[in-house]
């Protein structure tokens, strides 16, 4: 087991399977198709993201450096969360970006369920974690790769 300590942007607990994006996560490109056509598993539609393209994102521990792309990003993430298609938690190796932060905070303030979000987990975290690993997230921003 390996442990990493980040900052809890939205504190919460989660246990889920890792889905790892080594490049920036483009929220609109990743979610637009699945939101539009009732795909409850939230399959990633971003053709430019070879790590995630075609893989279901709902309920995963999404590990990423940061999000990129359209400024609808936060709204799309909020919507995915309200429709129960968001990842179980968001784990950023870098400092969180403004769009992802907006999405996680909108989900926190305007829905009944939290979207636990941890950032600043460090370069080592994204290098270590592999898609398929079991992940446990604690309130204080501690992340365990089980």
């Amino acid at each position: 087991m390996k442990t990493f300590k980040g900052r809890a942007v939205v504190p919460g607990t989660a246990e889920a399977t890792a889905l790892v994006s080594h490049g920036g996560f483009n929220t609109l490109a990743s979610y637009q198709k699945s939101l539009m056509f009732g795909d409850k598993t939230g399959k990633c539609g971003d053709q430019n993201n070879p790590d995630l393209f075609g893989k279901p994102m709902a309920g995963t521990a999404l590990c990423l450096p940061q999000t990129i792309g359209s400024t609808t990003g936060g709204m799309v993430l909020y919507c995915a969360h309200a429709m129960e298609r968001s990842p179980a938690c968001l784990l950023f190796s870098n400092h969180i970006d403004s769009l992802a932060a907006a999405g996680a905070i909108l989900a926190d303030v305007w829905t009944d369920r939290r979207l636990p979000t941890v950032d600043c987990l460090g370069e080592e975290f994204i290098k270590t974690v592999k898609t398929g690993d079991r992940i446990k997230v604690y309130e204080d921003g501690t992340v365990e790769i089980l």
Binding site: N26, K33, I68, T71, M83, L99, I105
Partner: protein, 425 residues
């Protein structure tokens, strides 16, 4: 974060629960980035990114209904991104059915919500709200609560206004309470460049490819670009503003750039020069080979990679009046040179409704029509979201459209050759 008495009262719910939740969202958002205060929004108008009424995005429209019901509407007028539908754009009955019944079924009701929330007017649907014809042009130093990555990067870089890369909904919240958290691109420190980009190409680079290369490299950082003003000029004019519009949109969509400085050209670079470059800034050299490498790396998402293009979009972001005139001239001349009257690929040029209206008063409008190309106010991105459209071989000179959809990228010269009956290369 330290709040003023008025801001604290809003947060404490003295002006109602909804405004309190809006303020809470903005405070949490600011604190995530170390903001110590909220500052007033000083621009005359806002700009929203969400223009589409996607039937399935119920949570967003329910939130808008709640804002309207509780009187939490924008304290400033705003423009909004382009509409997703236009009957002038080539389509077919099945696509139309998918568009209207399954996808954008909430369009009419969302348009009404926007009017109630503070939409400037019925023409205010464009991603290029900052153009003179639309009139939402912020002054240097003004603080904005905008979203739309291409508009934010333009306002920051070319106009010298101050705006973070806000998300949809957050930008509206800032316009409702009239305050935004002070961090990032609002601060002098946040506007310093952490990358120096040296452009060493043999000719003026294609704006959309240069922007893409820089966006992919610097991600959300601020680049200071040297070697470009020698090619596009040291004073802002219609031509280089359009270049920077397209360049910036590519930096913002292929990466997450919210501000760039062009040495010797953009307002802050002209005033402050290399003092804008942060200590330990990294360097990225771009030459012809690097641009070629980036361009060749774009994946082609067509099933049949040799398919004949069925549609062409020019204008993501929306075209300026000068660009519309230029394209009209180029297409007309290209067809004439081949003895053709009409474009060989159905072609849609997109521009803001106000720009299209100005264009329609010019003799160029009839010339463009004669080529068979269509002028529309549509958002090509929203059109391409239709899975039926997504399966079509569509070509574009927009790197933003390429990034988000299955449209295939070609340079403007290549596009011109294809639509006027020649091969791509």
């Amino acid at each position: 974060m330290e709040l003023t008495k008025e801001q604290q009262q809003i947060l404490d719910g003295e002006k109602g629960d909804t405004l309190a939740k809006i303020m809470k969202t903005l405070v949490m958002y600011g604190e995530t980035f170390g903001a110590e205060k909220m500052v007033p929004v000083t621009s005359k108008m806002g700009h929203l990114v969400t223009s589409f009424g996607l039937g399935v995005m119920k949570p967003v429209y329910e939130l808008m209904d709640k804002l309207i019901a509780d009187g939490a509407v924008s304290s400033q007028k705003f423009s909004v991104d382009p509409r997703p539908l236009d009957k002038n754009v080539p389509s077919d009955p099945i696509k139309n059915l998918v568009f209207k019944k399954f996808m954008y079924s909430a369009q009419e009701s969302y348009d009404k919500q926007l009017e109630k929330l503070g939409l400037l007017n019925k023409n205010a649907y464009t991603c290029t709200c900052y153009l003179d014809e639309i009139g939402n042009t912020p002054e240097k130093g003004e603080v904005l609560s905008w979203a739309e990555s291409s508009a934010v990067v333009y306002a920051n870089s070319v106009l010298g206004a101050r705006c973070n890369r806000n998300s949809g909904i957050i930008e509206l919240f800032g316009s409702i309470v009239g305050y935004v958290p002070y961090f990032g691109l609002l601060t002098d420190e946040g506007r310093k460049a952490t990358w120096v980009v040296e452009v060493k190409t043999s000719k003026t680079p294609e704006a959309q490819v240069l922007g893409s290369a820089i966006g992919m490299k610097v991600m959300e950082d601020v680049p200071y670009v040297k070697g470009l003003s020698e090619m596009i000029g040291t004073e802002l004019n219609d031509e280089n503003r359009a270049y920077l519009k397209d360049f910036g949109a590519a930096t913002a969509s292929n990466g997450a750039v919210g501000l760039y400085h062009i040495a010797g050209l953009t307002p802050e670079a002209k005033e402050q020069g290399e003092s804008l470059i942060a200590e330990n800034a990294k360097t990225y050299v771009i030459d012809d080979a690097e641009l070629e490498r980036v361009k060749n790396g774009y994946p082609v998402m067509w099933k049949d990679k040799n398919a004949v293009p069925k549609l062409c979009f020019i204008g993501c972001p929306h075209l300026t009046l000068a660009q519309l005139k230029e394209w009209t001239e180029k297409i007309s001349a290209g067809l004439a040179a081949k003895g053709l009257k009409k474009v060989k690929v159905p072609t849609v040029l997109t521009a803001a409704p106000d720009v299209a209206e100005e264009f329609s008063k010019l003799p160029d409008a009839a010339r463009l029509k004669a080529t068979g190309a269509v002028l529309s106010y549509i958002c090509p991105l929203m059109y391409m979201n239709n899975p039926l459209a997504g399966k079509m071989p569509v070509i574009t000179n927009s790197n933003k459209l390429r990034t988000y959809t299955t449209a295939r990228y070609y340079t403007s010269d290549e596009i011109l050759r294809i639509i006027t009956g020649g091969a791509a290369k």
